[in-house]
Each structure stands twice: as C-alpha cells, then as structure tokens.
C-alpha cells in the first residue's frame, strides 16, 4: 500500500443515514488520508451514492464526519465532486466552456465569455486532455469526455477531497483507463484524498490503495487483493466477477472487464 501523509484525513464515525423511514447506511466507519485513493464497491442500493452525498452535506445524518488537518479538526474543506452519469437534456445549448465558467466564475455566461476567461478555461481543460472540447455542446460529448470535463471542474480550484461517483458508467474501457490515470496523477501531484464509488472491481484495483465493500455498513476493508479475495464479495457480485478479479496479474486484468452499468 502507498504511504500517505496521515496529517490530514476525513474521518467518518458511526454514520447512520435514514431516508423516508429506510435505513440506508448504518454504523459506517471510514477514514481516508490525503494522498490516498479509496474505492467503494457494493451491490446496487448499498448506499454508495448516499455516502458521497452525505459527505457533500446534502443528506441529514447521525454520527460524525470530521475533516482533520495535522490532528486538529478543520472546517469542511473544499470538496470536488464528479456526479454519476448525468441525466440532462442532450439538446441543451450549454457548451463545455459555459459549464466550466458557470462553475468556477461569477462572470455571467449568458453575457458572452471574454477571451481571457476562455483562455483560462482552455488551460484548465488542457490538464485533462479536454481542451479540444471547449466549444462543443455538453450533449455532444461521449461519456469519457464528459467525465474529464467534470473532473476538470471538480479540480478547480484544487480540492482537499475528491468524490467520484461511478466514473465507469457510460465510459468505454480506453476512456476509463485515461480517467483513472488522470486521477492517479492528481493524487500524486496534489496529495488529495479520493473516494471513488464503482462497480468496476477489476479496472479500479490497480489505481486504489484501499477497497471498501459497502452494503449498508462496511462489510470488508483493506488492500484490493485482500478485499477481492473476500468470500463476502462472491455473494455480492457473483462468481463471474470473482473469476475476473482473481486473474493472476490483477493489474493487467482491466482488459477483461465489462461495463457493468
């Protein structure tokens, strides 16, 4: 496992979330250090997305979510968030530049984006292999392209914690490995903590430091190899994935992955 700085961390203690009378999360304990990429896997309805939305502050909860820097509790840090596959109107006349500017600047997009701002957006997008998308409408982007644009937005200005919800959905294998590579670079360069919710066990395992198997509460936790060989996982995902994840060389098993969404 990668050495992380341990000076700053996100601590979730005894978290309980109830929505409409149903307990979605119960007794969830998760610690994430900065510079660490943690993958959260689990069946549909396990509460993975709810966990991210709770960390974002969208959902009422019981328990404690604390953000610490050098041992002292800090206020809520900047959190970057890349949502699950967006469901918006594909004929929407919103360009990539419009979306980025409306997220990172107060300058009203409808009045027209000036050249300086456009250059700034272009330089931000270029870090995410997306500068050529600047003037495209968001409805014209492929799944992978949209994910990179959303990642660029989430990383501007640099957050302390990055939340990624199902980056694999609607993205082809090549696009996904480019996405994971970008996230890996970000973590190395900026020492941010990353929590990544995914179905893509095999694809993600070479990029995460730790995997958490979640089903209402934490069922198993540890390095990817250990969690992927956990028998509870078989019950969760069935034997087909079990075989994929036990390929001799785990890190090259991406080629055998399917899109599960």
């Amino acid at each position: 496992m990668r050495n992380t700085c341990k000076h700053c961390c996100t601590k979730i203690d005894n978290l309980k979330v109830k929505l409409g009378g149903n307990t979605i999360l119960d007794n969830v304990n998760v610690h994430v250090n900065c510079g660490e990429v943690v993958g959260i896997v689990g069946p549909n309805g396990a509460g993975k997305t709810t966990l991210l939305r709770t960390i974002l502050g969208e959902v009422p909860y019981q328990g404690r979510i604390a953000f610490q820097i050098s041992g002292s509790v800090s206020k809520k840090p900047k959190i970057g968030y890349v949502p699950q596959k967006l469901q918006f109107d594909f004929s929407s006349p919103i360009s990539v530049a419009d979306l980025v500017v409306s997220a990172i600047s107060f300058y009203p997009v409808w009045m027209g984006i000036n050249r300086d701002l456009l250059e700034r957006v272009k330089s931000i997008l270029s870090l995410f292999a997306a500068e050529h998308l600047l003037k495209r409408r968001i409805g014209e982007l492929s799944g992978g392209e949209l994910q990179r644009v959303l990642l660029a937005i989430a990383m501007t200005p640099g957050p302390a914690l990055l939340l990624l919800d199902e980056p694999g959905s609607g993205v082809d294998v090549k696009g996904l490995s480019l996405f994971y590579q970008l996230v890996d670079d970000l973590r190395n360069k900026h020492d941010i903590a990353v929590i990544l919710v995914t179905h893509d066990l095999a694809g993600v395992s070479s990029y995460v430091d730790r995997l958490i198997l979640l089903d209402r509460s934490v069922i198993a936790e540890g390095n990817p190899e250990a969690v992927l060989s956990n028998e509870k996982l078989v019950k969760t995902f069935g034997p087909s994935l079990w075989n994929v994840s036990l390929l001799p060389n785990l890190k090259s098993s991406k080629a055998g992955k399917n899109d599960h969404d």
Binding site: P83, P93, I94, L99, S102, A103, W110, K135, I138, A154
Partner: protein, 259 residues
C-alpha cells in the same frame, strides 16, 4: 399605441431571458399552470371586493409556485401528474367563483389580454420588473445553468439549489401575473416558451441561446403589435403567431445547419 410599444419593448426581453431557463429546465407545463392560476387570483380578488386583481393574482401564483416547488421534492407522483391535478383544480375553482350568476363574460378580456389598454403606471411597473429580472439574471444566471445540469454538481459548487429554484419560480410568477393583462391567460405561456425554443434550434452556447431568444422575442413583440393594429386583431395572439412563425423557420434552418 406608444404606451403599448414601450410595454412590449420592456417586457419581451424579460420573457426571453426567463424562457431560456424555462425551456432548459423543462418547465413549460409548470409555467402554463402558473398562467392559468390567474383565474383563481381574479376570483379571490372579486370575493374580497378588490378592484384591481393584480395583487391577489400575484399572491395565488407565488403561493402555487412555492407549493409546487416543495411538492416535487416530497411526493412520489411524477411532476407532470402533480401539475395536471393542480392545473384542473385551480382553473375550475376560478371559473366556479367567477361564473356565479352567469357573470363570467365580464372576465373574458383576461383570456385574450389587451395591450392597447396599458397605463403609464403599468409601464413604470414593467420598467421595475425588467430591472429586477436583469439584476437577477446577472447574479444567478450561472447558478441556474449548473442547477439545470445537475443539482448535486451545483451543490458541490456552493450553490443553494433550493433558494435558486424557489426564487426563480417566484420571479416567474411575478412576471407572468404582471403581464397577463397584455397577452391573456390563454397564450401568455407561449411568450415564455416560443422565443427560447426557437433560439435553441440553432444555438451552440448559452450566449447565442440568450441573444437569439431576446432578438426573436422583441422582433415578434414589435412586429405582432404593429400588424395587430392594422389588422384589428388581438395583439397578444398576433405576437404569439409571429413567435410561432420564428420557431417554424428556425426549426427548418436549424435542421439544415446541423446536418
């Protein structure tokens, strides 16, 4: 006629701006319900013995807008079902009250509107509302774009989604009710929807979308008003016909451009 032209020049850009977001957020049915709530507003005004029903109309529309906004997050029924139910209820309630002793004919002017009857006081009112819309759009435009794409994404960028959605619906209620005398209950909604829908057919970004909607809205407004004067027709409906014509042309041209 001069007053009517001033009124059109002030109010059509507001309708265009608001309309761009109504179409983006697929709220066309919502604004139609809002417009028709004028029936109940007028009825309540009559019951209370108020001469000018504008205030009760605004009160009913704002209350309805806020109620729908709250309901859509809490109910399991789909939004268009909720709107359909409210639409029927609010129109029926208004008509029942207004038609007591067969007096409904008095109110038919609200159905088709009358731009030529606009007073200088109303024009001052339009000027204020135009400034409010412009300031609101300047301050909240970006937040609305983010909200229309994804509310969680907007929240992660420190946007208060509830505040944005509620304030937007209240502003819509205000603008629609204040201008319902111009276009009439039956077609006020098309003034919101048509310019934006037409502009969308060829817009590549928010700037060109907004620009196109404002140009189409002002063009249809002025042309419709002048033509209705010579034809002796209802101005609101004539304006809507021109806006619909713009939509038709843009749909044909847009398809050719995108090919």
């Amino acid at each position: 006629m001069k007053n009517a032209l001033l009124a059109v020049l002030l109010i059509t850009p507001c309708f265009a701006l608001l309309g761009t977001m109504v179409v983006n957020k697929r709220m066309a049915f919502f604004t139609d319900v809002l417009g028709h709530s004028a029936f109940t507003g007028i009825a309540i005004g009559v019951l209370l013995g108020i001469q000018d029903p504008t205030l009760p109309m605004i009160a009913v529309a704002v209350a309805l807008a806020v109620a729908i906004n709250l309901l859509k997050d809490t109910t399991r029924a789909s939004v268009d079902t909720v709107l359909g139910v409210l639409f029927a209820f609010i129109v029926a309630l208004g008509i029942v009250i207004l038609s007591r002793q067969g007096g409904f004919a008095k109110y038919t002017s609200y159905l088709i509107g009358d731009i030529l009857a606009v007073s200088p006081r109303q024009i001052a009112c339009f000027l204020v509302i135009a400034i409010v819309v412009l300031v609101y759009w300047y301050a909240a435009g970006n937040a609305m774009i983010l909200t229309s794409v994804n509310s969680s994404l907007a929240r992660s960028r420190a946007v208060n989604v509830f505040l944005i959605e509620t304030s937007f619906t209240i502003l819509l209620a205000l603008v629609v009710m204040i201008s319902i005398r111009l276009a009439g209950i039956l077609i006020i909604n098309s003034l919101l929807v048509l310019p934006a829908a037409a502009s969308r057919n060829f817009a590549r970004n928010i700037h060109s979308y907004t620009q196109g909607a404002v140009i189409i809205s002002v063009f249809s407004g002025v042309t419709g008003l002048i033509v209705s004067y010579y034809w002796g027709t209802a101005s609101g409906a004539t304006i809507v016909l021109f806006a619909a014509g713009c939509y038709g042309v843009s749909a044909l041209l847009g398809r050719r451009l995108n090919r």
